[in-house]
């Protein structure tokens, strides 16, 4: 039996197919027509069950069918599958940052998510790397080569960009600016992690986890070892595929007996 997990994110669309284990995974750019992208992705495939997560989940599920699950839950399920002792999940994606605390059994206990803007997200890194004229892959290496410390105070993508411009105009080299930007976003992520009260093991997933400098800074600031899965971008789709495989109806579920009430 093939179960599919589809993570329709703001920057990437990820598909994970599962049989007994992970059978296949695909990562594509979301582009301007995510629905068509998803249709193309699914066209050639035969599968028994599909669960969709990510920003576009409602759009895609209303057009193509399939249950939906929030990316907060799918990341939790995916991380727990890869690392059964995982208790904290950091997911920094295209347009937001989420931190989720899990019980030993994998239930979500608490989560934090940044508000509306792109501060502290992958988009922030992307915009800033463009300003410094490096591609997103080389941004981390540039920062790691910094030889002095400067600070960026603003986390707002718009304000930070003007801070960067003023640092450039003062002749500060781009490696130091890149490092300052990484520091700023790492501070934002770690304050969210602290707020929630992180517990070992901490798994860092999502596209921004591909950035080595960011992983190192988050680990240093939290003074805790951080686990980055070999393919951090597929964790959400993996979680969705696992939910599809388990056949659990997470959305609009009718589970009267098992549902705890705060007050009966």
């Amino acid at each position: 039996m093939i179960s599919l997990g589809l993570d329709v994110g703001s920057r990437t669309i990820v598909l994970v197919a599962m049989d007994e284990g992970i059978a296949d995974s695909v990562i594509l750019e979301t582009g301007v027509n995510p629905l068509r992208r998803c249709q193309e992705l699914l066209a050639e495939r035969s599968y028994q069950k599909l669960v969709i997560t990510g920003y576009g989940r409602h759009l895609v599920s209303s057009a193509l069918g399939g249950e939906t699950v929030s990316e907060i839950r799918s990341y939790a399920v995916g991380a727990k599958y890869l690392y059964p002792d995982c208790c904290t999940v950091i997911d920094v994606g295209g347009q937001d940052c989420k931190v989720t605390l899990l019980s030993a059994e994998g239930e979500m206990l608490k989560f934090e998510m940044n508000d509306r803007c792109a501060a502290g997200s992958g988009k922030f890194l992307e915009v800033m790397s463009k300003t410094l004229e490096v591609d997103i892959g080389g941004f981390s290496d540039l920062a790691l080569g910094a030889s002095r410390v400067v600070h960026i105070n603003s986390l707002c993508t718009v304000f930070a960009e003007s801070e960067v411009v003023s640092l450039i105009s003062r002749g500060v080299e781009s490696s130091a600016i890149a490092m300052a930007l990484h520091e700023a976003i790492a501070a934002r992520i770690t304050s969210m992690v602290r707020r929630i009260g992180a517990r070992d093991r901490v798994v860092f997933a999502g596209g921004a986890a591909l950035n080595k400098c960011l992983c190192r800074l988050v680990s240093e600031k939290l003074d805790i070892e951080i686990t980055v899965p070999p393919e951090p971008q597929i964790v959400g789709a993996l979680g969705a595929a696992l939910i599809a495989k388990a056949g659990a109806h997470f959305q609009n579920a009718v589970i009267e007996e098992t549902k705890p009430r705060a007050f009966k």
Binding site: Y55, H58, T68, V69, S70, E71, I72, R73, D96, E107, M108, L109, F111, M113, D115, R116, F250, Q251, N252, A253, V254, I255, E256, K259, P260, R261, A262, F263, K264
Partner: protein, 426 residues
């Protein structure tokens, strides 16, 4: 009344017709999607659909008619302004809405952007001349429940008669005395504005009337304690919102008629959501018409909102003014003492609000609480820290949401709410 009559009236009121048309054209599709798409709505909501369907028409026409006959229309923004005083002077209180994104960019031409949406929306309605209620009113009564509003009223007073009541920030004896003085001064202001003397008899009658509206709304909220719930959170919120500006006697009649129907539904075990739908209490900032954003996201995600601990909810009507009568002085004191009991975050300390939230959570058998904070409302945002701690102690799940009237964060909100519901459903 026909559309042509409305247009003529708006023109006479000095409404910016071009902008106003845009606003009026935007509302019906939104209302259709959010309200009319709901299943098995109570028949009694028909009245409220009608009122919203002609939101700037028939009620404004009524108010204008009264104004032409010499009645004073007093516009208010806050549950601290005592309607009893206004009604006792044979004037008409009208709660202004200030819940639309439409007027926010207009306000931002003058006010700082990092001001809460409620303030910007209300200011923009006046500045842009798109609210016929403001235009019809003879006086706007403001209050000092937040610094942003306080300063906005100063600027607003350049284009409309404004009177500001001072709401103290503590509940000490000294503060209570200040507030009693404020209510008394307000009486003098209204008497002067209307030319009508407020007598003990008139005030007792007005008190009874406003209490009857509170009783009707209490009855509505009581019905929401049932499971399955006989009315959606969206519909109940709309009833509360409309009660701010509708004729008081008609409002009482309509709400009670609706409650008759809801109580019948409860007796028959009929509901609008399955009995296992997560029951949510929303606590925090007020939601003025047409701000239905959070309720809509929650209820399309499978949850049901069963109570609002807010100024467009329990804070508006949960306490009555004692109807003991007595002299004018005694009655004014009773009114002042009732209003200062409102647990607004402008007070320090405000521990009673925490007690209220816990009590309501129990009474409405909620599965989780969403703390709703209008962005840049610092009092509620900071008080949320204490709410979070109090709820953690009781093991009640909480989701904190900070947002405004725009739709730009709808996707993020939906993600949080989906995850929150997945968490409390587990």
């Amino acid at each position: 009344m026909t559309t042509t009559d409305n247009r003529q009236m708006w023109e006479e009121l000095g409404i910016d017709l071009k902008k106003h048309d845009m606003l009026m054209n935007a509302l019906p599709p939104i209302y259709k999607e959010i309200y009319l798409s709901q299943k098995s709505r109570p028949k009694g909501m028909g009245f409220f659909d009608f009122v919203v369907g002609d939101i700037h028409g028939i009620r404004v026409q009524e108010l204008r008619q009264h104004a032409k006959n010499g009645t004073i229309v007093v516009a208010t923004y806050c549950v601290f302004v005592p309607d009893e005083i206004i009604l006792a002077a044979e004037a008409i209180p009208v709660g202004l809405c200030a819940g639309a994104q439409f007027s926010v960019p207009i306000a931002e031409e003058v006010l700082p952007r990092n001001t809460c949406a409620l303030i910007k929306s209300s200011f923009g309605f006046k500045l842009g001349r798109i609210c016929p209620y403001v235009q019809t009113s003879h006086l706007i009564v403001g209050e000092t429940t937040c610094d942003g509003k306080k300063k906005m009223f100063e600027i607003l007073s350049e284009s409309h008669p404004v009177y500001v009541m001072e709401v103290p920030n503590k509940k000490t004896q000294l503060s209570r005395e200040l507030w009693r003085g404020e209510v008394k001064s307000f009486k003098d202001v209204i008497e002067k504005k209307t030319g009508n003397k407020i007598t003990a008899d008139k005030l007792a009658k007005a008190t009874k009337l406003v209490n009857d509206r509170r009783r009707a709304l209490q009855r509505l909220y009581k019905a929401r304690q049932s499971n399955p719930v006989p009315i959606s959170g969206k519909d109940a919120l709309l009833v509360t919102q409309v009660s701010f500006y509708d004729d008081v006697s008609r409002c009482i009649q309509q709400v009670n008629a609706l409650c008759d129907e809801l109580e019948k539904r409860i007796a028959d075990g009929k509901g609008v959501f399955p009995s296992n739908a997560p029951r949510i209490l929303i606590s925090g900032s007020p939601m003025a018409i047409p701000n239905w954003k959070l309720h809509h996201i929650l209820e399309t995600a499978g949850a049901v909102v069963v109570c609002e601990e807010s100024c467009t909810g329990t804070r508006m009507f949960s306490d009555l003014v004692p109807e003991t009568g007595g002299t004018l002085e005694e009655q004014i004191k009773a009114i002042a003492d009732r209003y200062i009991q409102i647990h607004c975050a402008c007070f320090t300390p405000n521990e009673e609000r925490l007690d209220d939230i816990l009590r309501l959570a129990r009474e409405y058998k909620v599965d989780g609480i969403v703390h709703y904070n209008l962005q840049f409302c610092h009092t509620y945002a900071n008080e949320a820290v204490k709410v979070e701690r109090a709820l953690a102690k009781e093991g009640i799940p909480l989701l904190r949401v900070e947002t405004d009237y725009s739709d730009e964060d709808a996707g993020q909100l939906r993600t949080r709410i989906d995850a929150f519901l997945e968490m409390i459903r587990r």
